[in-house]
Amino acid sequence: MKVYTGGGDKGKTSLFSGERVPKHHVRIEAYGDLDELNSFLGVIAALLPAGEQAVRDDLEGMQSALFLAGAWLATTPDSSATAHLTPMPATAAKDLEQRIDALSEVLPELRAFILPGGQPVAAWAHVGRTVCRRCERKVTHLIESTDGGEGELAAIQVYLNRLSDYLFVLARYLNKVLGTPDTLWKK
């Protein structure tokens, strides 16, 4: 049995590229939040109503993509360890746009802000959306605080931007199929 380990009990951990860094390092913060997002996608998938296999498949694909993204976040760009990494699929963001369009087809046009909530699974999708936005902020911070020219991080940021949009639409879609209308914000 192989176990990847590093002595983490004193507040440091290893990047995939080998550096020992504090556990609050900007890369650890970023992929930690990505891990949190991935877990929320798992919650949503676990709570999906029957008959939503296509959505379940989509979510599993997104979870796999987040693993790829996390590996890039855990690796400094000048490291030869990048040879082990799989680039984000070139069509990843476009694929999300197609899924957003497909879910949106059954939704009424939105003319006002809506309150996050409704059915539990939809409420979790809203939570996932906000965590996804936080991930995106961490990635943009990482891009700015490192060399700023990491092409893969730029692709990941675009992917997260689309994924948060997807989760917003998914929340509305799930409320719709479960018979709960959007709750509009009342000033």
Binding site: V3, T5, G6, G7, S14, E19, R20, S80, H84
Partner: protein
């Protein structure tokens, strides 16, 4: 019976060579198209049991070789220790990330027990000039020390369970690998490769955090 959980290859055992009373090298055929990097491992399956073992052969070698410790009550290692030549095993593709990184930083390999396996493969592949700190309790646990000492720029065997008066080996450090590192390693910016027991990996990592905070550490622990 062949392990069913692995998708990959089926290979026959071709050789078994005991290195001491509990550790042996298992040889098997190499499937067509099977590729790997030195340092990687595969999952071996037999009789419903599966376990990961690191390749010790060169990527150019016609056969695959593994360094295996027969674990007490270990169902797969016990079977692999006793199966007849020609018995067939399931083999996954190569996996793992403890592979050679091409950098300007000097490389230091630290291993104990069968954790030496990835470094045997690297040496077999022609990687040389590294520092190797190899730990074992007794001289018979310093697997492949002759081959490794030829490839290494500096080779440090560390014996932790053998009284000094019994040592016939020259230049042996009497103590654990951590003891050697703490007393003798010149602090610097290295690439450390650690492989072996979890306790060794943890102890060395925490030690290096203190002694060589700018080093890079790649590690793989055996359980």
């Amino acid at each position: 019976m062949i392990g069913a959980g692995i998708t990959g290859h089926t290979v026959a055992i071709t050789a078994r060579e005991w290195l001491n009373g509990e550790t042996f090298v298992l040889g098997c055929g190499r499937p067509v198209g099977f590729g790997f990097q030195p340092g990687q491992y595969v999952t071996i399956g037999y009789g419903g049991e599966e376990r990961e073992y690191t390749l010790i052969s060169s990527p150019a070698a016609p056969e695959l070789r593994f360094l295996i410790k027969r674990v007490e009550d270990g169902r797969l290692s016990g079977a692999l220790a006793g199966l007849a030549l020609g018995a067939r095993l399931r083999l996954s593709g190569a996996k793992g990330y403890l592979t050679w990184q091409t950098t300007d930083r000097p490389a230091v390999f630290v291993a104990n027990g069968v954790g030496i396996a990835p470094f045997v493969a690297m040496a077999a592949a022609g990687i040389a000039g590294f520092t190797l700190i190899q730990g074992a309790r007794t001289p018979s646990g310093l697997f492949f020390r002759h081959e490794l000492s030829r490839a290494a720029g500096r080779y440090v065997p560390c014996l932790s369970g053998t009284p000094v008066r019994h040592l016939a080996l020259a230049d042996v450090h009497h103590g654990r690998v951590t003891d050697y590192i703490e007393r003798h390693l010149v602090p610097g910016v290295y690439d450390f490769y650690l492989c072996g027991s979890r306790s060794m990996i943890t102890d060395v990592t925490l030690l290096l955090d203190r002694l060589c905070p700018d080093a890079r550490i790649y590690s793989e622990a055996y359980t």
